[in-house]
């Protein structure tokens, strides 16, 4: 036992690590002499840049090529150039607010569903995250436990989230069982349009709110306590302290939360796909599912149209990201 008492992993690893460092040191010094400081920067950046190019730049370039070529073939050499045909098809509408007037109606249904989902889900998500963070930042019992409870769903796979809620919300699910116990009419949570949309929003808020609570909680804890003490001595009411101290100082974190939630909401797919399959009808068909269906899942796939739709979606995400950067810089200048 005495042998293990003073044992530490760090100490045990110190010797092999120092050998390794010495072994690497010699060639690195040689490289620095040959290539100079600029060469060292390249040396450390190139592996990352190669990985980034392989998994981001190259697929993006392939996506662009797909979007201007036609056919069901996957090999680029077997696809024929069609120019902007896929974009024309997607954007061919006599009235953009009426999907039925569009040639590719499902694309526009998906667009408008996504807009509605993003607006609703992000508003509810930010509000709940804010309230939860304020409560968890206060002096409540078992604070650590409650923080873990709110964060736990973030750790679950989206497919698991979708399945769990599907079992609870289906016609013979737990929710309807409780309604039945109270002699109430059962509700078709997943097959009535309004309920199904609410279910999709609710489940996605439940699954992700913990992450945003964490960001806001970090911001709240960074606000100096003496500001509140001073305000209290001046007789400031809690509501006024929130508007005048908490909200302005929490703004950078809130901005991050809003932009991240927006980006994530635009990309919504997995848990809602498992939960509702995009239904009832197409009322939960969102942009990512549309791309997936057209590109992969439908009986006759069309990779070109799917790629064109994904480029349009990428454009929206770029705008959102630029907006985040712009707002952050503007805030810094303020």
């Amino acid at each position: 036992m005495a042998l293990f008492k003073n044992f530490s992993i760090g100490a045990a690893l110190a010797v092999p690590i120092s050998y390794l460092a010495n072994a690497v040191d010699v060639p690195l010094r040689w490289w620095q002499r040959v290539a100079g400081q600029g060469g060292m920067i390249s040396f450390f950046l190139i592996p990352n840049m190669l990985i980034f190019a392989m998994f981001v730049i190259v697929p993006l370039a392939i996506n662009i090529v797909y979007s201007v070529t036609g056919g069901t073939e996957l090999f680029l050499t077997e696809r024929s150039y069609v120019g902007t045909e896929h974009f024309d098809r997607l954007l061919d509408c006599s009235e953009y607010t009426d999907p039925n007037s569009c040639r590719e109606d499902l694309f526009w249904i998906a667009i408008w569903n996504t807009v509605k989902f993003v607006f609703t889900q992000v508003s509810i998500m930010v509000l709940i995250a804010m309230i939860t963070a304020l409560i968890l930042n206060g002096k409540i019992r078992a604070r650590g436990f409650w923080r873990a409870v709110f964060f736990f769903p973030v750790l679950l796979s989206p497919v698991v989230v979708g399945l769990i809620w599907q079992w609870m919300l289906q016609r013979q699910g737990v929710f309807n069982f409780f309604l039945f116990q109270f002699d109430m009419e059962s509700i078709n949570w997943l097959t009535e349009r309004s309920w199904a949309f609410g279910a999709a929003v609710g489940v996605s808020v439940w699954a992700h709110v913990g992450f945003y609570v964490l960001i806001l909680l970090a911001g709240l804890q960074a606000i100096p306590k003496d500001l509140y003490e001073a305000a209290e001595m001046d007789g400031t009411k809690p509501g006024r302290a929130f508007w005048r101290i908490t909200l302005p100082l929490l703004w950078p974190n809130l901005l991050v939360v809003i932009v991240l939630a927006l980006i994530r909401a635009v990309q919504i797919f997995d848990e809602v796909y498992v939960l509702t399959g995009g239904g009832p009808g197409t009322s939960n068909l969102y942009l990512t599912q549309y791309i997936y269906e057209v590109g992969f899942a439908s009986i006759l796939r069309n990779p070109g149209v799917a790629s064109a739709a994904s480029l349009i979606m990428a454009l929206v995400l770029v705008v959102l990201t630029l907006a985040q950067l712009g707002l952050t810089r503007w805030r810094d200048k303020q």
């Binding site: 073939e73 097959t191 239904g279 009808g281 197409t282 006759l300």
Partner: protein, 420 residues
Amino acid sequence: MKNKIRQNILAAVISTTMLSGGAFAEDVRMMWYSDGVEGEVMSDLLDRFMKKNPDINVILDNVAYQVIQEQLPIALEAGNGPDIARVTNIKAQAKHWLDLTPHLSNAEYWRKSFGDKADWMRPDGSNAITGFMTQLTLTGGYANKTLFEQANVPLPGAKATWDEWVDASAKVAANQQLVAAFAVDRSGHRISGPNVSFGANYIAADGKPNSVDEGTKAFVKKLVDWTNEGKHYRDVWVSAAGSSYRSAAEEFINAQVPFYYSGSWQISNLATKIGDDFDWVATGSPCGTAACSGLAGGAALVAIKYTKHPKAVARVMDYLASAEVVKEFSERTLFIPAHTGLSGRDLNFDTKSEQVKAALSGFMDASANVAPNALALPAWKYASAYYGALATRTSQAMAGELTLDQAFSRMDSDIAEKVK
């Protein structure tokens, strides 16, 4: 002494190599999905094959049907995939199947035994032998006899119409407080038999798709109306967007609906899961105004042309297509064989259940009623496009997003986009 040691080592190496012959066997991957017990039966048959043919190692990948429908086509388009696959979208993907003819031990046997369905699985105008049907299927209905008896509603007769079946089932549902009178799988394929029964003809004279005609409109309108009236189980159709497949078998198995329209491939599934819980019967296809037709089809085992081991693949296929193996497979899986030398009636199906035997017999009888327009569909390359549009737009009409006229117009434009 040194030489003796060397000799011993050499002998050990040679004997180890011979004993572990499997390590040098050619791998043949087979992608397989199951509706019932056929995965276990296939595994058993392949084990026997590998014992007799140690130079071939067949790896059976049991996957979900969705993988066959959604992931296999992507792999095939990329020039990859397994060596052999069990598929249902046979004709539309025919360009990916391998012509086994030069590798088969007796191509004439294949033509004689499976030739009548060979066109279902090869490109138009081709004479290739690409595989064989693991079973023939026919769409048709099932009724929960126990529920009909409990509700004192007589089962409609052999020539009963769709209206008669729905009315009778609605009476049962009302009496037994069930969620709906009947359910149909969410699939364009599944409603094509009924469409043809109401006079639909998908195929134009030039082989291209017809516009959605009065026959299709008649049945789709009825189905949407029945959905709105609460007679047709709504959840299965509206619970997805696009052309995704959804089975309604669980609703029938759980006695939520007294009548279920699916197909003969469900027999084993129903027999296993329902057991003695209630009595059920296969009803064939209800009649429309033009016929009492189901839709013939089935699953095919096809060789993939991107295989690196075509000879080994052909040996596996030769074995699985042999009359005795097809007979055993059909008897154990309760599938109707596609082998012309094996009549379903000559098989000794591996079941003691009289209702299973009656169901198999019922489907074999119903196969005589398949209308010519339905018989032509399995070998028609645009059938998948038609089925996809039917499922997508009919479910939108059921969900109240499109009027029937809008749905029919969209079906036409969807099919036109995919066929051009």
